[in-house]
């Protein structure tokens, strides 16, 4: 691990917050994609069935 010196807090804070925001974004987008795909398959199933 590189020696972050006296700004260790700032750097970890920046990386930590960005990591949370990025993973949150990906989770939301992928989650919604799956949810909508499932709902569409259900409705289309009902329609063709």
């Amino acid at each position: 691990m590189p020696e972050l010196g006296k700004y260790a807090l700032e750097v970890t804070l920046a990386y930590g917050a960005s990591a949370v925001l990025l993973t949150g974004l990906v989770a939301i987008v992928v989650g919604r994609a799956a949810r909508v795909r499932r709902a569409l398959e259900r409705v289309e199933g009902r329609r063709d069935g």
């Binding site: 590189p2 010196g5 700004y7 700032e10 804070l13 920046a14 990386y15 960005s18």
Partner: protein, 244 residues
Amino acid sequence: MSLWSYANPVRFMGATRPLVPVLGAVAAVCILVGLAWGFFFTPDDYRQGSTVKIIYLHVPSALMAINAWFMMLVASLVWLIRRHHVSALAARAAAPVGVTMTLIALVTGAVWGSPMWGTWWAWDPRLTSFLILFLFYLGYIALWQAVEDPDAAADLTSVLCLVGSVFAVLSRYAVNFWNQGLHQGASLSLDAEKNVADVFYYPLLVCIAGFVALFAALVLLGTRTEIRARRLHVLRLRERMADA
């Protein structure tokens, strides 16, 4: 076979099916490599110490925050002029990615500047412009959710995006006028020679490539979801019509 043919939803869905995972993988690799390279293998800056490592997050996210809005502007124009559903839905899909990128830029910018400024937040013109852009994003997303009818929503949000863009630029200069500036010089500028030493420059480029790939992957996935949601809406509407 012009580009517009991709505006046909069915063709768009087919064409982008393989792209999403590929872009996702590229994004993951580039971001991990770039960040690792910048974080572990670059020296500290003599003045800023290790905080310079935040550049690998701040610059790419700031870049994507602005380009996301610009992409939404172009997509809105395409919707208003050519009435292609896909471009309106792409604009809608880009907004959450854009707002997250703006948030990242704000947080990393504030944290990066805090040792120099002595406070967690300083009203620096460039950082404040991102705060304003953040508000524009909120308004745009809120309007999409507030309107039920998809076509009306696409039109209204497109008009808002156009007007918002003009005011975003206006605010950019108003904020400059309002406060001088504490932000460090541009890390990337097309004309001037490289502002950042080579050793920092290359990992930065890799990170930027990673963020661009991430943006593309998420927007494509988002657009595909919006198209499916539109189809869901139409099917449900028709079911209601059938009962009537």
